[in-house]
Symmetry: C2
Subunit: 311 residues, 2 copies
């Protein structure tokens, strides 16, 4: 990986993490993020590493986690910069040559207390394998109750960020990619109302990095106004149970399908940092189906690809 | 698959399901299992099926689920008998030739209300692919609090069933197989105190079927006395939170590692019947670690391979 680009990415990602953490603490008004910085042992040299049966990982990270806040029930905003050797099995699933890789980025998942405030995910990252490097990332919104203006706002802010970087930023393609990626095939539904997703952006690194920075910067303006709009809605037992069931689906997606989670667990990543994306509480009931005509049924009906951007 | 053996398996599995459901209802004393019988559309012929991109599944099942009981919070005891065509991708991971398969069996997971009563899983099944057929199955115990006599009892009853069918029943091998299989590598711990596990038992079908029947029949005597011993233990908030955290680990195992779950979801199985194994409530906290010297810490320390059989 080109050293100056890697350094520029690290500088940007660390600053982005700080800015997001500061704004979320202000928004919560009460809880503070726990700071958990971690460092792995130095890497063995290549000959030793490739003789191991499993993956080898070095590097470190800055994990920021908040639990039991006023607005956020569980929130993780992580930075990590790792390098190491893929296992042979995992290497087959990735582009590029060789088994040495490097990955750095910011990844966040926020699970609010209030069932009317949507869960959100955002990730921006730089990866390389041998001489081949690329950017990936995205953001998607997972409400428990459908408010069309929230989905429109979220897609609007992300779409504008894409447009500023056309043709690298391609909202139509990245929105469709998100619809396709954040889907639970065994449920026949998306995990939320989507957003944007992109991966393997391997050309024009400077321009692509500018696009990725704009997506990172778009996160707070895409999400915070939705929190402010919904955080004072009152709720009861019914909404709380529905939220827990929807969080069960979130867990299903992350553990069965999410490549970031798989990548982390299969490359020997730090389990607690990877699984900070899971909610504090999730629930499963047999064959639960919302009452026809209810707000819960309207939410489920909206978990299909749909044009959310206005204007 | 040999028709007389398949029919004999179906007869045994259906009767086993009925007997287990009846005994568990008696044990619960209050709740009744919901009966949900299901049937898939007839299979298309081979040429049509193999032209499809995904798996094709036909057949049916008898799902039995209980929720909100006095003893059991969530319990599923399922019978299914399915046949169909593997996807090409999945076919590569299985023994035998061709893409036509058939599978029948009983699978159960019980999540009790009382945190002192362990969760349990049992499965007995017959599979075939083309002309190649085999038996698989097993049972494992997942307590939240360690009682050595419970683990010893569970292993003792299953071990005796194995001994009656030596050399097909091989407790030492099947106990080690279980330790190995029911493990969360990313956590460095087993999901419980183990039991027995076996797969690909492809020779001496009549003798192996007799062994499998004995394992199925051993389930109630292996588990029910443990329920009766622990069900009246009083508990509070602390035990309930610990139970929810341990159930989070159960979810991690089932969704990330369990081949039965993967097999079901990837062959186009019935999602609600497959995921009945998930608990009603599961919880995740960042880097939660039990207090040193506590009963919770003693439980975690015991989640490693250990000789549980006495005498």
């Amino acid at each position: 990986m080109s050293q100056p680009l890697t350094q520029a990415c690290a500088d940007y990602f660390l600053d982005l993490q700080d800015r997001i953490v500061a704004r979320l603490e202000e928004l919560d008004g009460e809880a503070r993020f726990l700071h958990d910085d971690w460092q792995r042992d130095p890497l063995p040299d290549e000959a030793v590493a490739l003789a191991q049966p499993g993956p080898i990982l070095g590097g470190g990270g800055r994990t920021r986690v908040l639990e039991g806040g006023r607005v956020f029930d569980k929130a993780g905003v992580n930075y990590s910069h790792v390098r190491g050797w893929f296992s042979e099995e995992f290497a087959r699933t990735m582009p590029g040559e060789g088994r040495f890789f490097e990955a750095l980025g910011v990844s966040l998942v926020l699970h609010p207390v209030n069932p009317y405030v949507p869960t959100v995910h955002m990730n921006v990252r730089r990866l390389s394998r041998g001489d081949y490097g690329w950017f990936g990332g995205g953001a998607d919104l997972t409400p428990n109750y459908l408010f069309e203006e929230d989905a429109e706002h979220f897609h609007g802010v992300l779409g504008d960020a894409c447009d500023r970087h056309a043709p690298i930023g391609d909202y139509a393609r990245m929105k469709a990619w998100c619809d396709d990626y954040f889907t639970l095939p065994h449920r026949g539904e998306m995990r939320g109302v989507g957003g944007v997703f992109f991966d393997y952006l391997d050309s024009h690194p400077d321009e692509t990095f500018a696009f990725v920075r704009d997506i990172g910067d778009a996160f707070l303006p895409a999400y915070v106004p939705i929190v402010e709009r919904r955080r004072d809605t009152t709720w009861g037992e019914r909404e709380e149970q529905w939220q827990a069931l929807r969080r069960g689906r979130y867990v299903e997606f992350n553990l069965v399908h999410d490549r970031g989670t798989t990548f982390g667990l299969k490359t020997g990543g730090r389990t607690e940092s990877i699984l900070m994306s899971l909610p504090r509480v999730a629930s499963w009931r047999y064959a639960h189906a919302p009452e026809p005509g209810s707000p819960e049924a309207a939410m489920v009906a909206a978990l299909q690809p749909r044009a959310w951007r206005r204007g």
